[in-house]
């Protein structure tokens, strides 16, 4: 057996991937399986009732709060994705097309600088900026644009979107940058040579060819933001809580792990369905590259 594993190329490949495969199995597949399993059980005060039931899912469908929270989560994720990708594209475009080649790595390095600070500290930083007596409010009041502090910028959904969009910006910039870098510059000249202006060249050549990067950026931002519960907890106030906060509450405060698990499964399925639909919509830009 060992002989076979080390002598053939396929066997050596299996041998090489087995440690990370085992690692992924233990840390990803098993917990995921446990969550799915839990979602079909029920909590009976202190005891777990392990008889198979769909009651958790029935409750999620019947009680409007869960649907509303899921909807708000999807809305926040979609908004964060939109804002992040729209802001990231010009940055990636600038670095790819207008920065001298020898300076590009410096720029990418600068873009990752926010990661040097803990995410929690960056969230608190946004609190300082957006707060009632924060940088924006006191600044605007000093120059006389407003008489009393704006209240719609902290402790609501907007604050969550702003904070998350900032946090995920590098994740969106990098894949778009890579896609733009891969575009053969002679294609842009060819488009101009064939009579198209710079704007039309962007729309007909640059944008379609950067779609793989855009799709990757959308997925990289959209999928994890659904599960984020730190930002809504700290920035969302009462009206800015999302589905992840509810899952946390079910698991910890309400001691109802099965319902929390069912909520997690529902959220996961929603994200998967939306992501797959998005990929399928863009499939023609993603296949057939030389």
């Amino acid at each position: 057996m060992w002989q076979k594993l080390t002598s053939t190329e396929g066997g050596r490949g299996l041998l090489l991937i087995s440690p990370p495969f085992f690692y992924a199995l233990v840390l990803l597949a098993v917990p995921l399986g446990a969550i799915v399993l839990f979602s079909f059980w029920t909590q009976d005060f202190m005891n777990l009732d392990t008889t198979f039931t769909l009651n958790n899912y029935r409750e999620i469908v019947e009680k409007p709060i869960y649907g509303a929270l899921l909807q708000r989560s999807l809305y926040v994720s979609a908004s964060v994705t939109l804002v992040t990708v729209l802001l990231a594209f010009p940055v990636a475009y600038f670095v790819s097309f207008h920065v001298r080649p020898e300076r590009k790595s410096l720029w990418l390095f600068l873009i990752t600088i926010p990661f040097w600070t803990s995410y929690l500290i960056r969230v608190f930083l946004w609190k300082v900026i957006l707060g009632y007596n924060g940088v924006i409010n006191s600044g605007l009041m000093k120059i006389g644009l407003i008489d009393e502090p704006l209240t719609f910028i902290l402790y609501n959904v907007n604050a969550v979107i702003i904070t998350l969009a900032h946090a995920f910006a590098p994740f969106a910039i990098l894949p778009i940058f890579v896609a733009l870098e891969k575009i053969d510059r002679s294609l842009l000249e060819a488009s101009q040579d064939l009579g198209e202006s710079k704007l039309m060249t962007f729309l007909r050549v640059t944008l379609p060819l950067s779609m793989p990067g855009l799709v990757a950026a959308v997925l990289i931002v959209f999928i994890p933001t659904i599960g984020d519960y730190v930002t809504p907890e700290l920035m969302g106030g009462a009206g800015g809580k999302l589905i992840a906060n509810m899952i946390q509450t079910q698991f910890l405060a309400l001691n109802n792990a099965p319902l929390g698990a069912a909520l997690a499964v529902v959220a996961m399925i929603s994200v998967t369905a939306i992501s797959l639909a998005f990929v399928l919509l863009n499939i023609r830009w993603l296949k057939g590259r030389s």
Partner: protein, 361 residues
């Protein structure tokens, strides 16, 4: 012949680098014109100034008597076949060819489709319209690039080393096809190449460029037979160079050539303004001959010893040492029936003719 493109005093700087130096050039309508030179000589830069991708630092470019100074690339009556072909990978072959037709609002969808089919047929790609562009071979990509440019009926087609990415067989085939295509459509072609053979085969006229300057502009035959400078003579084909001394310039140019003796040549065989003094005599390997046993000639003869033999099948290249010259003469001989291949060290006679000499400074 009417002039289509004129460049007057064109200079181009990249920072301190002087890429084009005082280019004066006229290219005629319907001509197959080549820019030939080693890499870095400025030939591609010159092509890109005509296309509008590079501005000029100084001087005037006109196309069809219109000054191109403020005309961007997308509004110039030129189309280009790029070295990399620049086929859009996200579009099909047909969409690639139709790319430039978007603004032609005078054409219906069907008329555009008919034009695309016609253009594809012209380059021998009938029925390829639906194929994905990235699945094409190098030769097919090149044809798509040609069809995409020619469908717009430009005044000038610019070709930037279009054959350099193809293998030898394909390249020779495409050379012939390009010549036929150019005669068929009657559009002015400007070809950039570093391959002297390609330029000689395809062009009506060739401008040889060195270090941002045009070294010589002539038709292929004149360029090959009467190069006006040593640089051009060295770049195009092979040539033997012999030290010489010009004795007199009168009705003919009289000179002493090392190894060959006293020679008189006509003025055509020398650059303008040739004066007495040291010079170089050039002679092509195929205009020399080794005299085999039993052959006779009424041309000039000089004794020599075979120094090196390189056998090519159809040809044999000899290096023959003659008295008074350091470097042996390179001689190209066709392997005709009955001709032996001489051995190294064999004594022989070299046949030469003053008419095939060029005198260079």
């Amino acid at each position: 012949m009417t002039a289509l493109i004129t460049l007057k005093g064109v200079n181009k700087y990249y920072g301190d680098y002087h890429a084009l130096r005082d280019i004066d050039l006229t290219i005629n309508a319907g001509e197959f014109f080549s820019l030939l030179g080693p890499s870095g000589c400025g030939k591609t830069t010159l092509l890109r100034t005509i296309a509008g991708f590079e501005g000029v630092s100084d001087g005037v470019v006109t196309i069809g008597s219109k000054d191109m100074a403020n005309v961007p690339a997308n509004l110039r009556p030129t189309n280009m076949v790029f070295q990399s072909y620049a086929i859009f990978p996200h579009l099909s072959v047909g969409e690639n060819v139709a790319f430039g037709l978007r603004k032609r609002s005078d054409l219906t969808r069907d008329a555009k489709a008919a034009l695309v089919d016609e253009a594809l047929a012209m380059v021998g790609l009938d029925g390829y319209g639906k194929r994905a562009a990235h699945a094409l071979s190098g030769g097919q990509r090149q044809r798509v690039a040609l069809a995409r440019a020619l469908i717009l009926k430009p005044k000038v087609l610019l070709l930037d080393e279009p054959l350099s990415a193809l293998d030898k067989k394909m390249r020779e085939q495409m050379q012939v096809e390009l010549i036929k295509l150019q005669r068929h459509v009657g559009i002015t072609f400007i070809l950039v190449t570093h391959d002297q053979e390609e330029a000689l085969v395809m062009s009506d006229r060739i401008a040889v460029m060195f270090e941002g300057r045009i070294g010589q502009l002539d038709d292929p035959e004149t360029l090959y037979r009467r190069p006006k400078s040593r640089k051009v003579a060295e770049f195009i084909g092979k040539m033997n160079f012999l030290p010489a001394e010009v004795r007199a310039v009168a009705e003919t140019i009289d000179l002493d050539v090392a190894g060959l003796g006293q020679v008189s040549v006509s003025f055509e065989q020398a650059p303008e303004g040739m004066d007495t003094g040291p010079a170089v005599a050039g002679i092509r390997p195929e205009t020399l001959a080794v005299l085999f046993e039993g052959e006779t000639t009424d041309r000039m003869l000089v004794d020599g010893v075979v120094d090196e033999v390189v056998y090519y099948g159809d040809m044999t290249y000899y290096d023959v040492r003659i008295a008074g010259v350091d470097k042996p003469l390179n001689i190209a001989m066709k392997n005709l029936i009955g001709r032996p291949v001489l051995d190294v060290g064999a004594r022989t006679q070299v046949v030469w003719d003053a008419r095939s000499l060029v005198v260079l400074r």
